[in-house]
Symmetry: C2
Subunit: 216 residues, 2 copies
């Protein structure tokens, strides 16, 4: 029992130190060696809890997205549907992430994205499933996964265009095209897509989420 | 006049030799030096006509796609609409390209794809424009370009999945998801998409195109 408590405690400490280091040194600059040195432990004690840096960052990213969803859900009277909810979540997330070069480096780091592309497929498939269910569409699980792959490929291409040539696209357009794609792949009709995107931007423009996250 | 004729002649010779070398040595193995040696000319005489290998391959690829379209158009009685026509074109193209590792290397070579991703955006936008026009959709030019970017990103992601894990997807499924995406982004309703994709596969299964191309 003592050991288990110690382990839980160490895990929390690793996360705390890693979070601070991500902010201070960025994604590339944060290493297991630095975290180990700070906590006076071995690198092995870290890999016992987290196999790699990706998995630590994933916890921070998941937590960030969960906070955004919880914030949206704290306005139950404004709730429209699951598509609308995810539209707002992505608008919030992209606006916050793109706010600073540090956030961009943390979220879009090449190593993180490479792992993300495969690691998050089930999560993205699940978003498509929830939306199609909510709109009473019939769907096949295999299709959802392919839609998730296409979504991930399309959004990473959009991000490259946005990064390489920022005048080609505003941040809100970047958000728009990604959530438009989700609606189109979920077989929502054009009017439903446009209405929900409009309502999502309106909500996002008038409600500022408070989050406690490494994306500041 | 003599010079112009000589130039045209040399250009044709370069293409002929390049085409043969692509088949013999693959994309990586074909170099301007080898082409120059074979024709007993300088590398400069090649770059006068073609700045780089990508632009030579582009001619072969465009020609291949044009032959496929011409073949489909040689059955005017079966014609349904522009979406259907592009569905068949992609089914034909992918089935042919994926038939041999040599074809895959020629078409999907990393260097070719990198250039393709930006060089072909206008061509892909134009496909989206033609389809939306044909179905009397209203559209903005800026949207078409972003749809083209999303298309290119999504299909290159699908291709990676198909290559890395062929059991996850059959070749026809790879075709299906790409042309499904085109239909969805062109705001076609689910029934129209499914009907046209079904008709396109049926046409492709019963009409074998004859092409004179490096993709054999």
């Amino acid at each position: 029992m003592a050991n288990e408590a110690e382990n839980t405690n160490l895990k929390a400490q690793i996360l705390q130190v890693a979070g601070r280091m991500f902010l201070e040194y960025g994604y590339s600059g944060t290493t297991f060696q630095k975290i180990a040195d700070e906590l006076n432990i071995t690198k092995g004690s870290i890999t016992y809890h987290f196999k790699n840096k990706f998995l630590i960052m994933e916890i921070f990213i998941d937590d960030f997205f969960n906070q955004l969803k919880a914030y949206i859900d704290s306005y139950p009277d404004e709730y429209r549907n699951i598509y609308w909810r995810y539209c707002i979540m992505y608008i919030y997330a992209y606006r916050r992430i793109m706010r600073t070069p540090r956030n961009i480096e943390l979220f879009y780091h090449k190593d993180q994205q490479t792992q993300w592309q495969t690691h998050k497929i089930n999560m993205v498939s699940h978003i498509y499933e929830q939306i199609e269910q909510d709109f009473h569409k019939s769907y096949e699980m295999a299709d959802l996964q392919m839609k998730a792959y296409m979504d991930m490929g399309a959004r990473s291409r959009l991000f490259s265009v946005y990064q390489e040539n920022p005048v080609s696209m505003t941040l809100d357009q970047y958000c728009y095209y990604h959530i438009y794609l989700i609606g189109a792949l979920c077989k929502l009709d054009e009017q439903t897509i446009q209405e929900n995107i409009r309502a999502a931007f309106q909500f996002a423009d008038t409600h500022e989420p408070e989050t406690n996250s490494i994306f500041q």
